[in-house]
Symmetry: D2
Subunit: 347 residues, 4 copies
């Protein structure tokens, strides 16, 4: 517990950046150096991020800029998509490691990159950039300077699909529908609170860029090419993602096979909690029990050859800032859950 | 506009019964005779149903009982599932027509009936009981004494599927996920508000009794046997159902074919509003624009052979009380939308 | 019922303007002529206002501009505060009557005007501008070309205070706290949905411009100068205002005196519903039963010399668009509730 | 950090009991012995309290009963009001210390006790029972066997009033309005989620039993007899209390005096955070930043002689379970914030 590293956060005035600073307050091996915000440079952090006013030191710190930031062991980039490729050269000399929470370098396929991340395609993907789902950490990531973490809905869906795809238990097309709270759209969203609240509405029924990311991650980790369609809807409420995934089991696969695949995949993980056969009202993954925590809840429901898998996580924590800290912990040999022990609430 | 009929409501202290009385206040051809509630007999209706206090006459009326109720032209049964079969013989002599909003007589298959509606199976389905989706009204329903209306999630899903199934445009299994507000569970729900709010959770992942009802309705009206899996989740908020249906188009079917099928099915309807190609943020069916109204919104989204259809309605109105009034209007030759012109709100 | 007048709406793409058009759809003596929006000129109304897509004719109409609008019998101004004074000269020749729903001409005191409405103070208050609380309608308003309606929180509080102040039953300072939904801040609000939801926060603890307006209205109608402090807070949810007013009764005043004052003031009104002694859980004014309607609910609670009065209304309807239509109905001799018969919902 | 004590929780299946167990999971000096629930004896805790399933050991533990529970260093009583007086004799031999989170022994005045806590009045207040607001901890509490903690709305209001009353800065009557989330009504509430949500409604306008408790606490700690009226309203949402307190400053008191009083009272506290002059939008106490934490936020707003004070806290944490742990920490010489470092969230 003696070692302490220095950490800076780029784009710290946004939702993910603010959440990262908030979570780092309970991390005992980290010293926050710089928090940058072009628009708010010089302002006290606590004025932008009311949750930080309970931490007087962090709350009174002032936003700096990329130009003035100091060298740090870890630099988290929470810059909006498309910005990091433009400033990467400027940041590299000041960062032993960069953990990027935006989508810029998630996809490898050039055609998909051009479609979904045109700014990245224009600047090119730097050498040595790697994509990491924390549960697939291996030692060789430790030498990587630029780590990219998955998208919130991508990773929520991945946790639902990986064990069954890896075990070869499913066949045919998989349908996934993700529902997300309003912080997922970022702080610059133009949506009015009165239009968001008391509503549920689908908003992206095909072509979401998290769809190819899930397919790529399953190819990499489960060694299989899946046919996946992802649809996304908007929930009232600030945080949380719930994903329902519908698939068909191969002939002869039993509910026990399904449960074994999940237990085997997640039994040893710190944050992925498999609940067994999903059963309402409460033995199902849900928003309330994961919001505020770095947990992912997953449950499966088998009915003949039909299998439905539900997963839930907090998009700002396990879907962004929390998995970033988890990745840092792994890279630096800290305890995997350092700074991440908060649990969800009930009720 | 001169004719006026008498109407009574059984089980009037529940959510559907209360909504029915509320809607009937703006119906100009109806006189409310009796509103029964065994538990609240003798109490003023307005004390149970705060929305009725804006209608002094109805609000001050007192709940009666099935025993004391008078003869009426139309008796709406909003009794909880399983009760009507036990009291039907008592009601028949007092009712020219019974419009049943509960599920008792929706399924015809004896095996399914025994599984999903054991009380009905025990008492038997009475002669002449018929099931009506109001958009499929035909004159011969007018002679029917016992009309049964569809379940809220069943009919919401049916509106999404009917045009494409009837036109033979889809193949393979259809996946439907319905999300519903908390009034759907009825007034006797044991769920605590603190457990419901700030949450989203799936609650019934297979075996919901609205699933065979949708299949039966598609068999009847679209002449086709579909493979359907229905999953249901719980939204925060009191009202509204949103259904996402995922299906595969037959080879060669185009987006234009899909739109034509919907326009042709719903172009002439009063309450089913087809929005064309679903496109976020706003050209999608959503809760806010239908809650408070008898409208159903439907939109389709085609991406190659993948077709996603979204529908939304107010479970207490178009999914229950409103469709009951619509059925009554049709049976009595009133304007189809009499009492049902309220629109959804924005924001 | 034969007469039909022409109506235009300025600033129709905002929340109040959209609500006005929505409500006018069920008004049988009005023909909508123009709906202006500088930013959206030429676009279909239904694209900005999803609730209007259930009304095909109005939904397909296109926004025009102040320059191109035609002459109309009634022009509702839903322009943002400060705009009408700049364009009034342009509008006058095209409008037999102007009903202004913004705050520009509510205050008469020049010092208060300069503080709270500097744009108005700069342009001056036009001759013949009058302020109208619809329940105080008198025939001489009929000749007025420029009618100004009260602010949403001002009028909600006024309904709570007027009967007791007019009857001389209270003494000392009155404390009022208003809670409002998010549409109250107008469509240009910069608040993010994720910051608004799952929250309650006070936002204006003194100096709200509705405070002098209430005092002025009580001076005019109750003939008394009150000491009032108004505080305002932000609720999650899109619509609705609830006001709690705390006051002290003069020595010897009884609960019966209080009830008599309210019954006498509101017994003959169409929209102000006095519930008697407020008593939880349900015999209290609340958001759910008024949202969607033009009703105001008011209840009093007397405990010795302490008197608390609660009122509730829908800020976009009774606090804005609905009272505008009510004013128009009175001016034109239509039934006071034409187009305004929708009731609140439960649950 | 070496010492570990044993702790049991009575009434552990309720909201406060569950929250206590959840919070104790991050307390390093406590071992959970028994969690009792008469209704759920023998069931796994994690089935009643979904938030506990992330803590496998605690989640699998089974509810025991008062009869079978073992001796413990600290017994937290989360039994519903009125139960502890009946079973106290049974518990005393098994508990070195009892920390009671219910209201039974909060009031000392026999007349008020008879009115508000008739069960307690019937059984009598045991010798040595003491009432503790944790910020007023003194060493002599350490010897007390039966500690009683304040009510959630009482303590939230107390934090707003104490500094100004103690400093003698206010005169005349104080008006306080508390708004509370739905968990405040306890798990046995009969309210339906559909009736609670999308609503705001006052529910107790006089006579709330937290009113005399606040007056008693101010008498004890501020040495002054205040005239207070407390009104209570129901918010949508599960957690959180916001209190607005309206008072009049004595002649000559300045804003600086007010701020000094608050800084002086709370500068040295761990959990009461004074924000200075309340100023919307964000420099105000609000639900989002305190829910999930043991913090109380307080801010004052002075306008001439009018002073408004706002406070906010999480009713289940700082208003119940969290302050219970804080009290235990103080009694046992643990760090005051052990197990209580979680912060509120934003957004």
């Amino acid at each position: 517990m003696s070692e302490q590293i220095t950490v800076s956060v780029l784009g710290a005035a946004g939702f993910v950046g603010g959440e990262l600073i908030r979570l780092l307050q309970s991390h005992r091996q980290v010293k926050l150096l710089d928090a940058t915000s072009r628009a708010r440079a010089g302002q006290a952090i606590g004025r932008s991020l009311p949750a930080l006013r309970h931490f007087p030191e962090a709350g009174r710190k002032r936003f700096s800029t990329i130009e003035t930031m100091r060298e740090a062991d870890v630099v988290f980039s929470c810059l909006p998509g498309g910005v990091l490729p433009r400033v990467l050269a400027q940041i590299r000399p000041k960062a032993k490691r960069i953990i990027n929470l935006a989508g810029d370098y998630r996809l490898r396929d050039p055609a998909l990159l051009a479609t979904h991340y045109p700014e990245t395609a224009a600047h090119g993907v730097p050498e040595g950039a790697r994509y990491l789902i924390p549960e697939f950490w291996q030692q060789d990531y430790a030498d990587c300077q630029l780590i990219n973490l998955p998208g919130c809905m991508a990773v929520a869906t991945f946790y639902s699909l990986y064990p069954l795809v890896a075990a070869g238990l499913v066949e045919g097309e998989i349908v996934a529908e993700a529902k997300t709270g309003s912080s997922g759209s970022g702080k610059e969203s133009a949506e009015h609170p009165a239009e968001r609240s008391h509503n549920y509405r689908p908003y992206k029924l095909s072509g979401h860029r998290h769809e190819p990311e899930i397919i790529q991650a399953l190819r990499d980790h489960a060694g299989s090419e899946v046919a996946l369609r992802l649809s996304v809807g908007s929930l009232d409420g600030p945080r949380g993602i719930s994903v329902s995934s519908f698939m068909t089991l191969r002939d002869g696969v039993t509910e026990l096979d399904v449960r074994k695949a999940f237990f085997s995949a997640y039994g040893g993980t710190r944050f992925v909690r498999y609940l067994g056969q999903a059963q309402g009202p409460w033995n199902v993954p849900m928003l309330k029990t994961v919001v505020g925590s770095n947990a992912v809840e997953v449950a499966s429901h088998v009915d003949g050859r039909r299998c439905t898998v539900i997963s839930a996580l907090d998009n700002l924590i396990k879907g962004a800032a929390g998995q970033g800290i988890q990745a840092m912990n792994l890279m630096h040999g800290f305890s995997e859950d350092e700074g991440l022990t908060h649990g969800g609430m009930w009720p």
